[in-house]
Amino acid sequence: MQNLRVNKRRNRVRQSAGDRVFDVISISLLLLFAVIVAYPLIYVVSASFSSTDAVIAGEVWLYPVGPNVEAYKAVLDNASILTGYKNAFIYTGGATLLTLLMTILCGFTLSRKDFFGRNIFSGLILFTMFFSGGLIPTYLLIRDLGMLNTIWPLILPNSVWPWFVILARTYMSNSIPEELYESASLDGCSVYGMLWYITLPLSGAILAVVALYCAVGNWNSYFDAFIYLSKPELYPLQVVLRNILILNSMDIGRVADLRNMATRQGMTNLLKYAIIVVSSAPLLILYPFVQKHFVKGVMIGSVKG
């Protein structure tokens, strides 16, 4: 081991010219790509903290010009955004909890070899990954169940998510030794006891991965809410954002004193940057802390797709 490391270091010094050219090219491409990815994000943040005039005049390039927090005050005054936030929290929380519950139940049962008929059940779950009833039949079902304008279509239908089930099953059957179950069984432990005392405490890592993917997915999606909800007071954040940012229905009367058309448009423009920051901030701040879980999820998933 020690030897190898020394060898590697010596090779580092004696790189061929071709390898050095390769390094220069690959590192510059990587840096270029990182800049391309990061720049729009930096621009949004800087613009949101700048003054209206500076943004209109195109003076903002990298850092805030004429720094102020006017736009943020206006955004946090906006009732529909706050309601959207609250609703999104409720829907995301509900969906994540339900999905976790279903994933635990399916993952555990399907990981047990003495579960008679487990192939049938796992087939039933996997099949929904490739084929579904489609938009209209599902919509008609939700309508006939009287679930329009309720939280249920947003959290219940997708709570058994095949990919999460595969992830949990793979993790549970690979990382929990069968001997644990055997000895528990000899001690008279029931199947429910095994789930509660063995599987659950040992599956924290995979459940964190599932919860994170599920929470991010739900927080960012708008389709289900868009289809099944028609009352504005029920809209989650993304639907509110769509109305404000893309359909341009924003009430800024109180904010901009309507000095003239240009100022008003400039203010709307600035507000949008602030809204983008306010709505994306929770995830982007959380992300560096949970990054390793996301990577882990992909690793486990790629072992056995």
């Binding site: 390898d19 990587l30 009833g133 058994v160 769509r242 893309i246 709505s279 990577v295 797709g305």
Partner: protein, 317 residues
């Protein structure tokens, strides 16, 4: 194997064996009852609703009571012979093929370059930055596109103006639509998609690199002869999965990017199904279009899997 060993045993013994296995698994059935109920109600019952594609839906009669169409495939023939269908199918194919070709290779290159980096800190930093856009919602992404390309306030046009050019109305010109859709997709998903390949690359044994170095292989050669063959199975599997959805373009992003000027190139099957079904309340017709879409995707998946099996021995099943 189990069947063979059972054949020797008497039928009566077999019966009790079956009963015993079922009885022993009762706790599992109890545990999976609720998830199964959710699946049956929300996933499998709507599959029965697919019969709508062959019926004329009447609100009063419901799905079961509505009469069958005469002839049975009327909705399908209507869709496939309509001039708008050709446009919708071409748009869907054009966008998803373009998208696949542009966004499939980039993460592989990113992963290989990252893997070659010697500085661990730089590797982590670049990975973190490129992964970031994954957390941005579709609504925010599309509004960023609209903001940035705004004809007077967007920084893209401000840059064009300061370089002495004429501002371009990117979102108001249908010629730009596909490029914007595809390349913003690359911007958002490359870091996320690269993680799978990085995971596969991290499994390559160091011995192979060392042996190659001893043999005098250059970096490019190591990439071509060690890295690429090692992640080839991952590449093939992901490619099969992607071709399986060649005739579907996700609804969320494209619907947000649609406007009156680009509808002729931006109307795809998923938005067409939505418009026909939920906006025009043409339930049966819309279901038929959706079913057609699902069937083509299924066929593509099977076809690509068969080709991949034949050529490379790697496949989904």
């Amino acid at each position: 194997m189990t069947i063979n060993s059972k054949k020797i045993e008497s039928p009566a013994r077999n019966q009790s064996d079956f009963a015993r296995k079922v009885k022993r698994s009762i706790p599992y059935y109890v545990l999976i009852l609720v998830p199964l109920a959710v699946l049956l109600v929300f996933k499998y019952y709507p599959m029965y609703g697919i019969t709508l594609a062959f019926k004329d839906y009447r609100v009063s009669a419901g799905i079961t009571g509505s009469p069958w169409t005469q002839p049975l495939l009327r909705h399908f023939t209507r869709f496939l012979t309509a001039p708008s269908a050709v446009r919708v199918i071409t748009n869907t194919l054009a966008i998803s093929v373009y998208s696949l070709l542009a966004s499939f290779p980039v993460p592989i290159v990113l992963a290989i370059f990252l893997n070659e980096l010697r500085s661990n800190r730089m590797k982590k930093t670049i990975q973190m930055i490129t992964y970031m856009p994954y957390f941005i919602s579709t609504v925010v992404l599309v509004s960023m596109i609209i903001q940035f390309t705004d004809i007077s306030y967007g920084f893209v046009n401000q840059a064009i103006k300061s370089l002495g050019g004429q501002p371009i109305n990117f979102m108001g010109n249908k010629d730009y639509f596909r490029h914007i859709y595809v390349w913003t997709g690359v911007w958002q998903a490359t870091g996320y998609n690269a993680v799978v390949y990085l995971a596969a690359l991290s499994g390559v044994s160091q011995d192979m690199y060392d042996a190659a170095v001893v043999d005098g292989a250059s970096k490019v050669k190591r990439i071509l002869h060690i890295d690429l063959p090692s992640i080839a199975p991952t590449i093939i599997i992901l490619f099969i999965l992607n071709t399986g959805s060649i005739l579907s373009v996700g609804f969320e992003k494209i619907y947000l990017m649609q406007n009156n000027t680009n509808l002729s190139v931006s109307e795809v099957i998923s938005t067409y199904v939505y418009r026909m079904g939920l906006v025009n309340q043409n339930y049966s017709y819309s279901t038929a279009v959706g079913l057609f879409n699902a069937l083509v995707n299924g066929l593509m998946l099977i076809l690509c899997n068969a080709i991949a099996r034949r050529v490379s021995d790697v496949g989904l099943w």
